[in-house]
């Protein structure tokens, strides 16, 4: 997993509550055999004017000019600003895969759905919960200032704004440690290789038929 330490990046606003995982990545794309490549179909139904199916050349599809991510001023955004209950719906890990593949590394919202929140950490995306009024203030700042950027410092747990000072945020210490060090669960478990081997040795004596 990619390490996350500090990030200074353009912010894109997605001004809706209850954005569900089906909206983030519609179900027809789940037949894919890849974990990557979902970026072009992120928010597919909102982003394009036609109906998307796997295998289409997305670069040739008609874009919906009204969808916020299609506006030139938000191209290259790595921080997504969102509203309540972001990521509700199914447990599909394709949702954080799509956000990450598109380029988002941070999502800021007043609240997240549980499973989605967990899945983000497994995929190097930092979801940040802030008070609804703070989020609301950020929405206003983004709209008012083209090219609006934030700096997210995970170690210090601080978001630096161009104007208005720093915002403190909370993050679970264990998850923070994993993100900063780029440790996915696998990387983490592999720190305990000796324990696993010791277990296997002991178990192979107790239950040798499991290790034929």
């Amino acid at each position: 997993m990619e390490k996350f330490q500090t990030l200074t990046a353009l912010v894109a606003p997605l001004d809706r509550s209850n954005v569900d995982t089906d909206a983030i990545i519609p179900k027809q794309f789940l037949k894919s055999i890849k974990r990557s490549g979902f970026g072009p179909n992120l928010f597919d139904a909102w982003r394009y004017l036609d109906h998307g199916e796997p295998g289409m050349d997305n670069s040739k599809r008609p874009l919906n000019p009204d969808f916020v991510l299609n506006q030139p001023r938000y191209l290259g955004a790595k921080i997504l600003l969102a509203r309540e209950n972001f990521g509700c719906g199914s447990s599909r890990e394709h949702a954080p895969w799509a956000l990450q593949d598109y380029g988002f590394r941070v999502i800021i919202a007043p609240s997240f759905a549980d499973i989605f929140f967990n899945n983000c950490f497994k995929n190097g995306v930092l979801p940040i919960v802030l008070d609804a009024d703070v989020v609301d203030g950020l929405f206003k700042d983004v709209y008012a200032n083209e090219g609006y950027q934030l700096t997210v410092d995970l170690a210090a747990q601080i978001i630096n704004r161009p104007v208005g000072g720093a915002i403190q945020f909370e993050v679970d210490s264990f998850r923070k440690y994993c993100l900063i060090n780029g440790l996915d669960d696998i990387g983490l478990t592999l720190q305990h290789v000796d324990d696993i081997r010791a277990y296997e040795q002991k178990r192979a004596q107790q239950a040798p038929w499991l290790f034929q």
């Binding site: 974990r35 447990s91 890990e93 478990t189 696993i196 296997e200 040798p208």
Partner: protein
Amino acid sequence: MAGKTLYDKLWDSHVVRQQDDGTCLIYIDRHLVHEVTSPQAFEGLRMAGRKPWRVSANLATPDHNVPTTERDKGIADPISRLQVVTLDRNCLEFGITEFKMNDARQGIVHVIGPEQGATLPGMTVVCGDSHTSTHGAFGALAFGIGTSEVEHVLATQCLIQKKSRNMLVSIDGVAGIGVTAKDIVLAIIGEIGTAGGTGYAIEFGGAAIQALSMEGRMTVCNMAIEAGARAGMVAVDEKTIEYVQGRPYAPKGDLWGKAVIAWHELKSDGDAVFDRVVHIDAAGITPQVTWGTSPEMVVSVDGKVPDPEQEPDATRREGMRAALKYMGLAPNTPITAIEIDKVFIGSCTNSRIEDIRAAAQVVNNHKVSKRVKLAMVVPGSGLVKKQAEQEGLDRVFINAGFEWREPGCSMCLAMNADRLEPGERCASTSNRNFEGRQGQGGRTHLVSPAMAAAAAIHGHFVDVRNM
């Protein structure tokens, strides 16, 4: 100190290490792999330059996307084909044993694990599929996992988990004639609801569970997930050991003797304490038929479709109305008056040899009703199919007008070509009656194999106890 439950014993024997907050690293003995949830996990391994920790712990087969007819022609849908070909490639690259589509041993992953002896008592068994609970029938700790966890198991042979709570569902006494494992588990879900087991590992016990064959116990554990529990299990007894003996992956010789001694411990201690206990009287269980779009929407075959107006809870009432609308059913319709268009005998719930025998016994010397457009039997594996053919069961079905298909998930979830058309009504031995599960707009009634066979002959539901 109180004794241990079966779940406690299985859990404790697999803890590799425990963190202060109770999170554990647990060891996985068997990992079953299929084509739908594994490609991203293999890709992850590749991208990180990792190798499977213990190749021999994995066993793979394609099941969800495979066609059930004319298999020599390959898979028509290119996206389905690619998922299957990708599994072949990944297994080849990483050295994982795979029963490919045309292997005689191919089948539904939850059928072939036990059939091969790859599922053994005392194991932890996982698969990127929620019905992995099936394998708990062998006194194993078995549960479904997500794609990141599939990769985690491949890379480390472990999973990061927190322990669930203990629940005992005891089916006491003797079940009546014509009442099968499927009816028992549907009755359990009807009783405790689809969230009744959430947060628990369920042990199924009591005389009626002990009386079930291993196939029957697998049917019950299969649907633990439909009761909200990630894992269901049954204690080991002589039937378990007899079933396992001589299977290809089962221990042999000296090891067999040692294993059997250890396996006899795989039951809850007499003084073990469960966080929740549910008792159900087997004598009160009748053949079950679901009427709605959730497995808990179930009634006795001699009952009626319930009336939402009689339901005091507003949320439930709304749910019932929506389900009846989707199902195209009027309140108070007798279940036996519901006519069906298709019959599906198969799925990881009910596609083992015993299920096929039970259905064949009902079908014998009868014909499929003219009103039924399609009645199909899809054996759970190539070996089940072969066994049934040796017993002449295929002829029983074919003579009656059933189609006798190649093994796979088939119309359980309609990811291959087998599906319901909008509005079609199906008597199905599978496990989920969700909207669109068997095809967009399709209407599913979950029943036992004998009940599905009887419905095929009559064109509507009938009480097998009267046949």
